[in-house]
């Protein structure tokens, strides 16, 4: 199973605002749940998500346990030049993960 999915339009016209959709696979353990034998499951959530478009940050989110499991975000940014969109996220266990997608910008 992929760790995440990023969706952007196949081609975007330069200067237009387009939608980025990001789905991260992560349980977002709240720290409030119990396992089968009543032990509290330690909190482990993705606490930070950053999205970088050709090196510049276009989206930054600080997350708390109130974000649902398998966090989903959609946000907007402006098309400039073709290149790459990279999303990077870190969870409480210190694991940092990233996923990239290519972006084609037309004139």
């Amino acid at each position: 199973m992929a760790k995440a999915r990023i969706k952007v339009p196949e081609v975007v016209k330069r200067g237009t605002v387009f939608e980025v959709r990001l789905l991260i696979r992560h349980p977002m353990e709240t720290g409030f749940r119990y396992d089968n034998v009543g032990q509290q499951i330690p909190k482990n959530i993705v606490h930070t998500v950053r999205c970088v478009y050709n090196g510049a940050e276009v989206f930054h989110a600080k997350l708390f346990p109130g974000i649902a499991a398998n966090p989903y975000f959609s946000f907007f940014t402006t098309a400039e030049v073709s290149g790459e969109l990279e999303c990077v996220w870190t969870d409480d266990a210190g694991v940092t993960t990233s996923e990239r997608v290519g972006l084609t910008v037309s004139e």
Binding site: T30, F32, R33, Y34, V37, G38, Q40
Partner: protein
Amino acid sequence: MKQIVNISRRSFLLRSAVVGGGLLLEVTLPKSSVAEAEQASAQAETSPEVTAWVLIRPDDTIIIRVARVEMGQGSFTGLPMLVAEELGCDWSKVRAEYASTSEHLRRNRIFQTMLTGGSRSIRDSQEYLRTAGAAARLMLTTAAARRWGVPGTECVAENSLITHTPTQRQVSFGVVAAEAATLDIPENPPLKDPADWTLLGQPAQRFDIPDKVTGKTAFAIDTRLPGMVYAAIAQCPVFGGSLKSADAKKIADMRGVVKLVPLEDAVVVVARESWWNAQQALRALPIEWDFGEHSQVSSDSILEFLREGIQLEKAPVSRQQGDIDSAFSSAATTIEADYYAPYLEHATMEPQNCTVLYTDQRVEVWAPAQNSEATAAVTAETADVPVSRVEVHKVHLGGGFGRRGMHIEFVRQAVRVAKTMPGTPVQLIWSREEDIQHGRYRPVALVRMRAALDAAGEPTAWTVRQAEQSIFSEVRPHLIRDGVDIVGVRTFADAPYAFPNMHMEYAMRNTHVPPGPWRAVAHTHNPFFRESFIDELAHAAGQDPYQFRRTLLQTPQASKDLAILDAVAEAAGWDSPLPEGVHRGIAVQDSYGSYTAAVIEAAVNGEGELTIHRVVIGIDCGSVANPDSVRAQLEGSVVYGLTAALYGEITIKEGRVEQSNFHDYRMMRIAEMPTVEVILKPTGGFWGGAGEPGMAPLAPALCNAIFAATGKRIRSLPLKNHDVRPA
């Protein structure tokens, strides 16, 4: 072909919109709705809505809206009684009507809550419903006073007539209702002194019964729509498994088959003409399942898992008082016992079902669900439409018992299927086998209790270790506090008995079998454990079980438990002689804001055959709307509770439920029905529940009677697994 089509609620929704606002309609409404609105407007003229709860027609017919659902408990009648008492109307002209869920949502949840469960319908709404009745009465008397040009304080309402006391002029509710509807709703109208009630507390005939004896009542499963197709479902036999494949080709030529809809953990066959066609095709369908990781789980392995919980050195504490260690070290007698209760399924007589009509404009749903707002939410989420496009048709339920409150997966399934066939109504019905094998079960529980008695036989200490599945750890994690399911520990953590030293622990042990709230939730198995163990202590102390309990209930907090125990013991003639071979057992329990006790008289012959001769069960639920409904709830609890005690057992093998229908999940029938005497002792000043509290004292009272008869202590249910031949 005869079509019985449920009446659309569309016109009803508009009706309330146009009260006082007819002028706006012409400019605002979409064209297609104008004719309908005009028609609705005409109706509105004749049925003014005095408040959201009360509509009064010129012919003095009174319509009282009911927000909760009727599933046998009688609230379709009891709730209107609360309104009518304060309204001062002619009860014979009152009709009950369900409040529309969509109107409720559009009007900012004007009907408060639509949840039906927790024995809460009457007790949670009595205040706002009585207030609603009183408010409507004040509006009506005010309207009459204005008409006469007299002070409102000189007008009184009774029997749907308003009288101007000084002149004895009279006008009926129906005449002034339209004017009253234009007035503001008074905020804190005075309520009657309960001593002045004329309707509440008197037995009333239920509104829903006449149609239930003719077959006219349309349950959800009776929904008939033009062009409707039928859906049958098979769910993965092992909980947590999933569908691998189903070969649709094998059934493609079978009669009526329309399509196959695979779901993650189930497969649905849709057929024309009849559910029979769908079910026949489903039976012929080759299905491959991925049973997942739980296919080796059995009732034995679950019991082992619970034993681990009992044997743990420490577990989260649910109650602590005093010093048990020193109490035990100085004890003259120590008693220890393990008790067990199995999984149970609800088995509502109307199987799970749901009818859905999905169109581009809206989604209509007919479902036997205990909370129509939840039905609307599930429908909107599953269909991926705004809830404003969902119309939930309210229907009476063929039983609920907690099965269809939190868990309405049948709605989700039906919406999934209907969404694949826009414009075609789909009726999904679960077979009885699906119902029994895919329930939300009363959790299994194993409990170890210890108690200390001093040399005088006085109880000095009590410990409890529960190893039990939590209903709420998944669905309502906020009900788990420091590892303790605060619902699962009730009966113990809140026991009224005055042991000087107590220590109680809760070891959560969750299995893959889905748990759910089964009628009375924790107050079925826990009272069996507690009240049987108290009986053991009484016998160990050489005391009468009734007197032993009385001694432990001499605190102010326990006064209502004590009073109902005394009332039932007296009614049963606890100290009176019994026929040869007949013995008594007793138990007491408070739950859902009420206090119940029972005495059961039973005999066991040499072959170990049990006869239950008499059940005396009493309740103090504080105040009563319709005493006949409370009585019926207790009579019904006797059957539901004794069925569980005698036969109720869901067992697990290879990860799945072994029972499948009423031949192996047996129900009490009329031949086994004992004489039941219900004692109503409402002491006033509070409102308790009635649907569930009666469940609590039954199993322990019966098992205590069996002990008295045979000397055999029953520490696990059901009784069918025990040899009760006298030792």
